[in-house]
């Protein structure tokens, strides 16, 4: 069910500011793709344009084409909510809904999209929480507020919430940057399991993490502040981290710049 994503000449703006320019890359189904690069190079902007979250900000827009199994998600007659249901997203900071319990948080996507049957919701919640390695920790307190969990648990709750709607692609925007090493490990393990079913794109600042979890790595960079971010190199993770073909990539991953 996982889908192939193809970006062709994707350029994104914040008002008059061009954040990324002419990004071309293809993400194969059931792989983990890592986006790395220095701050401000447009990794997150690119990620957010993949499920049309970029345009939520006032004045932001995307040009070029982004297809998922050959359907352009920026076509005029495409339903944005359908795109986002197909391409889920986990954010940098855990953002559970504060008025909802753990259970309600997990099934929020289903419930707010019209699923009412309690048995279906309960089944989906357990499945999603088990996939997110959170079930054992919360099964006795599903009625407690989601905001009362620890940071790492909250992030796994948000992952459970994302996969409960059964998307085909999961985007992760630095999902571990606010977490301790143990929670990070739990989430990396989770990515390995999720890879069987989903296509995953992850933005990370942690190069070891990119090397550990991803199959392919894309390196983004900018010339100088104010310039749009560009894709410098996109290859198998192994190759990027052992024998990159671009000098800039090598400089970045060896720590000489960035």
């Amino acid at each position: 069910m996982a889908k192939r994503i193809e970006a062709t000449d994707v350029t994104a703006y914040y008002g008059g500011f061009k954040a990324i320019e002419n990004i071309n890359l293809t993400v194969e189904p059931k792989t983990v793709t890592a986006l790395i690069g220095p701050s401000g190079c447009g990794k997150s902007t690119f990620l957010r344009s993949v499920n049309r979250m970029h345009e939520v900000l006032p004045g932001a827009r995307v040009e070029g084409s982004l297809t998922i199994d050959n359907q352009d998600i920026y076509d005029r007659d495409v339903d944005v909510t359908a795109v986002r249901r197909m391409i889920g997203m986990v954010f940098q900071r855990p953002n559970p809904f504060p008025t909802m319990s753990i259970f309600e948080n997990v099934v929020a996507g289903l419930r707010l999209n019209g699923v009412r049957r309690k048995s279906i919701l309960e089944e989906a919640a357990e499945k999603a929480l088990r996939s997110a390695n959170l079930w054992d920790e919360v099964k006795d307190r599903l009625g407690k507020p989601g905001a009362g969990l620890s940071g790492g648990q909250q992030q796994r709750l948000c992952i459970a919430r994302t996969i409960a709607v059964e998307p085909q692609v999961v985007l992760m925007d630095e999902p571990c940057s606010a977490l301790d090493p143990i929670s990070t490990l739990a989430i990396e393990d989770l990515m390995f399991q999720l890879k069987d079913k989903f296509t995953i794109i992850i933005v990370t600042h942690n190069m070891q993490q990119a090397a550990r979890v991803s199959d392919r790595t894309a390196f983004f960079s900018i010339e100088k502040t104010g310039d749009p971010g560009r894709l410098i190199e996109y290859d198998n993770t192994q190759k990027i981290f052992s024998n990159p073909s671009q000098k800039k990539t090598e400089d970045y991953i060896t720590g000489r710049f960035g």
């Binding site: 939520v56 954010f91 809904f97 008025t99 929020a108 996507g109 919430r161 709607v165």
Partner: protein, 362 residues
């Protein structure tokens, strides 16, 4: 992190680094207060220049000065300033609470005289200047109906308006709405009363009243809703702006449409604050006299129908009874004032409990 940093630093020289400082004993502050009051009493009564109020004011000033001097001598300048400022802040709090306590005390002591079944069960119909009876039943009905209708009109309108301004409005139109809401905040209540009198009572109401203009409780509700609207819009707007953007994005990322995100995620998160704003607006409207007098006309008899004929309200009842030439009317006015305050208090507490009921227990 900090510990590692410090452990790498060279150790400070052997000279002792003390964290202790001399402190005033715990009894110092009360002793200074008592001495200040005694000195102040001595000065005021000795010179014969005033009464107990002046003693307290002068005593407070002497206390502040004495505390600063004592702390300065024993603890040093920084501690002395700290003590003086905390004492100032505490006295500001007391000053702010005093009028409130005084109002409550006056209301309870004077209002309890007529706090009987007759007051809540009868109207002022056929009550003359020599009658000790008579009550505010009609006025309570009027307040409840008028404020109730005004709330029904204002809350949906105000909340939707705030949602438009925060979530959808862009550019000049939203700016204009915000500007006029701000302007509306400053409209005096008598002006909204005149507006409804000119527009509703004199122009609209004759259409369904055989050509004659008619007072009604509904007209008062309209005037009150004009008063309540800006408060509701502004407070709801502020509360909606406080809802973090990542919550909205989290819902969008699940494929939830924008309207549903607002309805099921944004509004519940902001609900307690919105309820507080609405209660402030209701409290303000319940205390208004002028618009009710202008467009509902007041009245002594019970009128359950807000759409026809004169109605009174508690605030108007207080105003009228306070000016009545009867030795029984001041007591009625005080009890009505007490009733009004109690009513608003009960409504506020009920609304807060209701808004909290949906929040999850920790």
């Amino acid at each position: 992190m900090t510990t590692t940093v410090t452990s790498h630093r060279p150790q400070p020289p052997a000279q002792p680094l003390t964290l202790r400082a001399r402190r005033l004993p715990a009894y110092a502050a009360p002793v200074i207060a008592v001495v200040a009051l005694l000195v102040s009493a001595g000065i005021v009564y000795g010179a014969g220049i005033g009464g107990p109020v002046l003693v307290v004011v002068l005593g407070a000033l002497l206390y502040l000065g004495g505390l600063y001097a004592a702390a300065n001598a024993v603890e040093g300048r920084r501690a002395a300033r700290n003590r003086t400022w905390s004492a100032l802040i505490h006295s500001a709090f007391v000053l702010a609470v005093l009028p409130l306590a005084s109002v409550v005390w006056t209301l309870v002591s004077k209002g309890s005289e007529r706090l009987d079944g007759n007051f809540f069960g009868t109207s002022m119909n056929n009550i003359g200047a020599r009658d000790a009876n008579g009550g505010a039943y009609h006025a309570i009905i009027g307040t409840l109906e008028q404020v109730g209708i005004a709330t029904l009109i204002t809350v949906p309108l105000g909340v939707l308006c705030a949602i438009y301004v925060v979530e959808y409005g862009r550019g000049r139109f939203a700016f204009t709405i915000r500007f006029f809401v701000d302007v509306m905040t400053g409209i005096p209540s008598i002006v909204t009363g005149l507006f409804v009198l000119a527009f509703w009572v004199l122009i609209v109401s004759p259409w369904f009243n055989d050509g004659r203009p008619g007072f009604s409780g509904f007209a008062a509700a309209l005037a009150l809703s004009v008063l309540m609207l800006p408060t509701v819009v502004r407070s709801t707007e502020e509360m909606l702006r406080l809802v973090p953007a990542p919550l909205r994005e989290g819902a969008y990322a699940l494929g939830v449409p924008k309207w549903k995100t607002i309805l099921r995620v944004v509004l519940p998160t902001a609900l307690p604050g919105i309820v507080t704003g609405i209660m402030l607006a209701i409290a303000r409207a319940a205390g208004e006299t002028a618009p009710v007098l202008l467009v509902a006309g007041g009245g002594a008899a019970i009128n359950l129908n807000p759409f026809e004929n004169n109605q009174s309200s508690l605030a108007l009842f207080v105003y009228q009874q306070a000016g009545e030439a009867s030795k029984y009317s001041p007591a009625r006015a005080w009890t009505a004032a007490l009733t009004l305050v109690a009513l608003v208090l009960v409504l506020t507490v009920a609304a807060k409990l209701l808004a909290r009921r949906n929040r999850l227990g920790r």
